[in-house]
């Protein structure tokens, strides 16, 4: 009996060995690792839309695979290594916390290409990093919020005090202040990316305290629904949430990873893949604004003008003069913040009514 099992095991192993190279020859295999479930209708969902775009674009020429809800840490390394061994040609690790696992596995598999989203480590030539300038969209949201709010005060539901979120708050504020220099924002840290109930509670707390427009850097549609019930306007997050709040959503920042994924898979096919660090924004089509709705025509026109300025004229939201929260000057008139400074930002700009948790 034991022999039979051994023989079976050996033959399946042999099969696996013969099958893998054959598949690799005619098809490019692209693999994704998500930190959340693809059903979050937010961050991981949008990455998965990118995978679907790749499938649609390449059809039979590509084979895809994905793993969802992979915890950041040791499990991630195992998941990435499993993909590497299963014949993936390119692996997209889509969360910040996959950074070190990616470097480790990349060292072992120099022929496989690794792409890490929102990270900054590229220890090996086969690791590239990519990210999107979502804060460009937040600047546009600020411009809109300042014109919609009668009280001159917005509510902001934030997740965790990491640079990505802080730069979003700052960009939102700068956009709002470009319309109303006295604009204020109240911030609630939900300390979660994704807990619909908690996000709804945070929205209610903000509205009870009197803000009359809300935005969020958490992933569920709950805050928008709460705003809708109270007749207040708000912004969607990561995907177009208009279906959940047809009378409420002003616009939403949509993460469109599709074009980037198609480009990179194509590069693997052509053999032209190279290490790079991409921080794409509106001009690259990585950040798209959902249609402007539920606002007067003049506000819509102003929003479109700012969007065009960022997309077509290369306007950077972090252009001076910008003051820090404590009143000291950060950027001189006309000075543009270097990307490196923005990516590691850990302070608020002037006018933010909150103490940054650290």
């Amino acid at each position: 009996m034991k022999k039979l099992v051994m023989a079976l095991a050996a033959s399946t192993a042999a099969l696996a060995f013969t099958a893998a190279p054959a598949a690799a020859q005619d098809k490019t295999k692209a693999c994704w690792i998500y930190v959340g479930p693809i059903g979050d209708f937010g961050y991981s969902y949008q990455h998965h839309q990118g995978l679907l775009d790749v499938e649609e674009h390449f059809g039979d020429k590509v084979e895809t695979a994905y793993l969802e809800s992979v915890p950041e840490g040791a499990d991630a390394e195992r998941a990435i290594e499993r993909f590497a061994r299963s014949g993936c040609d390119i692996i997209f690790a889509t969360s910040f916390g996959f950074m070190d696992p990616v470097q480790k596995v990349a060292a072992k598999f120099p022929d496989i290409k690794f792409e890490h989203a929102t990270g900054f480590k590229r220890d090996h030539p086969n690791v590239a990093t990519y990210n999107s300038r979502f804060h460009e969209g937040r600047y546009v949201q600020g411009v809109i919020a300042a014109q919609i709010s009668e009280k001159g005060e917005a509510g902001y539901i934030a997740s965790f005090p990491i640079p990505e979120v802080v730069m979003g708050i700052n960009a939102f504020m700068l956009g709002a202040q470009s319309v109303n220099p006295d604009f204020k924002v109240k911030i609630v840290w939900a300390n979660t990316w994704f807990d619909a109930g908690k996000e709804a509670d945070a929205a209610k707390a903000l509205l009870d305290q009197g803000v009359d427009v809300i935005t969020q850097h958490t992933d569920s549609t709950a805050p928008l629904q709460v705003a809708g019930e109270r007749g207040i306007k708000g912004f969607g997050q990561a995907s177009d949430m208009i279906k959940f709040a047809p009378d409420t959503q002003l616009t939403s920042i949509v993460d469109d990873w599709g074009p980037y994924y198609i480009e990179r898979v194509q590069a693997v096919m052509d053999g032209s893949w190279e290490q790079q660090d991409v921080w794409g924004g509106m001009k690259d089509g990585h950040v798209v604004m959902a249609p402007y709705t539920n606002m007067p025509d003049d506000v819509k026109a102003a929003a479109e003008a700012v969007e065009a300025k960022i997309r077509d004229e290369g306007f950077n939201p972090f252009t001076g003069p910008v003051y820090k929260q404590d009143g000291t000057l950060w950027l001189e008139e006309g000075e543009v913040a270097p990307d490196g400074d923005v990516l590691s930002i850990n302070f608020y700009v002037k006018g933010v009514d909150d103490q940054l948790p650290n």
């Binding site: 479930p37 059903g39 979050d40 209708f41 969902y45 509510g155 005090p161 109240k186 911030i187 609630v188 840290w189 939900a190 300390n191 979660t192 994704f194 807990d195 619909a196 109930g197 908690k198 996000e199 709804a200 509670d201 945070a202 209610k204 707390a205 903000l206 009870d208 305290q209 569920s220 549609t221 709950a222 629904q225 995907s239 279906k243 959940f244 009514d353 909150d354 103490q355 948790p357 650290n358």
Partner: protein, 304 residues
């Protein structure tokens, strides 16, 4: 604003209360079901799915109750009939529920849900400060209060309740008295499942009318903690759920007002409060022992 905050607290507390009161009955019968989270999330996805397909939130609620009870039946079959380990089976039930709900729910992602409309009682709901809190809430809020009253009455004022408690306290004696221990436990476990399912439906039909994978976000575990917190007393479950709700909403308001306490600390407050109360009530060991079902988590295999 005061009233609106009260209502928000009730919204946060109600699902915890419903799930916890069900688990209380289960544990009073001597069974520890750690699968609350799994049954709850199954209730959430079923409630949402049925409500959106039929357009009727009430049908969603009933379906959620049935599915919760069915999941509990599975747990009952494994732990009571096959005498598997309750802790392991409960954990497995949670994992199973999270997985299955994600699979079923895939079709519902990104669909706006059906919201259950509140029952507004005329005149009474106009009472200042508390009128809307007490008399203009979602039907499930009233049901949650009725559940507490009902369970409290059942456990401590009826013969059947006494039977259930005796099964939980000493199943061998109960068996010797001719009580059908396993049957009582099956009933209790299914009641707990039905409550967990109902709590799940509250999440996807009232709290945040939508389906998102894993939307219970640990509330099943908090409900489990609340039962211990309440030392297996129904009214204390009510108090615990509202205390937990009040602290979690209070910390959000503290943040908005700008209290200069780190938000991470504020976020942890509800859990800290739970631990503090647990320590306080565990101080008197004898008193704790009196309330704890003596056979909690112990398998029952009748002597042949």
């Amino acid at each position: 604003m005061f009233e609106s905050v009260l209502i928000t607290i009730a919204t946060a507390a109600t699902p915890l209360l419903i799930a916890a009161i069900g688990e209380l009955v289960v544990e009073r019968s001597g069974v520890l079901n750690l699968g609350v989270e799994g049954m709850m999330v199954m209730g959430a996805v079923t409630g949402f799915g049925v409500a959106i397909t039929t357009g009727s939130p009430w049908l969603g609620v009933f379906a959620a109750i049935l599915v919760g009870a069915a999941f509990a039946l599975l747990f009952g079959f494994l732990t009571l009939t096959l005498v598997t380990n309750q802790v392991a089976t409960g954990l497995a039930l949670t994992l199973l529920g999270l997985g299955v709900s994600g699979m079923i729910g895939e079709a519902f992602i990104g669909l706006p849900g059906v919201k259950m409309s509140p029952w507004v009682i005329p005149v009474l709901s106009d009472i200042p400060l508390v009128g809307r809190f007490l008399f203009a809430q979602a039907p499930l809020f009233y049901i949650s209060i009725l559940l507490v009253i009902g369970v409290s009455y059942f456990l401590f004022s009826t013969r059947a309740g006494l039977t259930l408690r005796s099964v939980g306290d000493n199943h061998d004696s109960a068996h010797a008295l001719g009580i059908r221990v396993i049957a009582v436990r099956y009933a209790a476990v299914m009641f707990g499942g039905a409550c967990a399912g109902l709590a799940g439906a509250y999440l996807s039909l009232v709290y945040t009318p939508q389906w998102i994978e894993n939307m219970t976000a640990g509330r099943g575990w908090i409900a489990l903690a609340l039962v211990v917190f309440a030392s297996w007393r129904p009214w204390r479950v009510l108090a615990g759920a509202y205390l937990f709700g009040a602290v979690s909403i209070g910390q959000l308001h503290a943040q908005v007002i700008g209290v200069s306490v780190p938000s991470q600390l504020l976020s942890a407050l509800p859990y800290v409060a739970t631990i503090v109360v647990l320590v306080l009530i565990s101080r008197n060991r004898r008193l704790t022992m009196v309330n704890t079902p003596a056979c909690l988590g112990r398998p029952f295999v009748p002597a042949r």
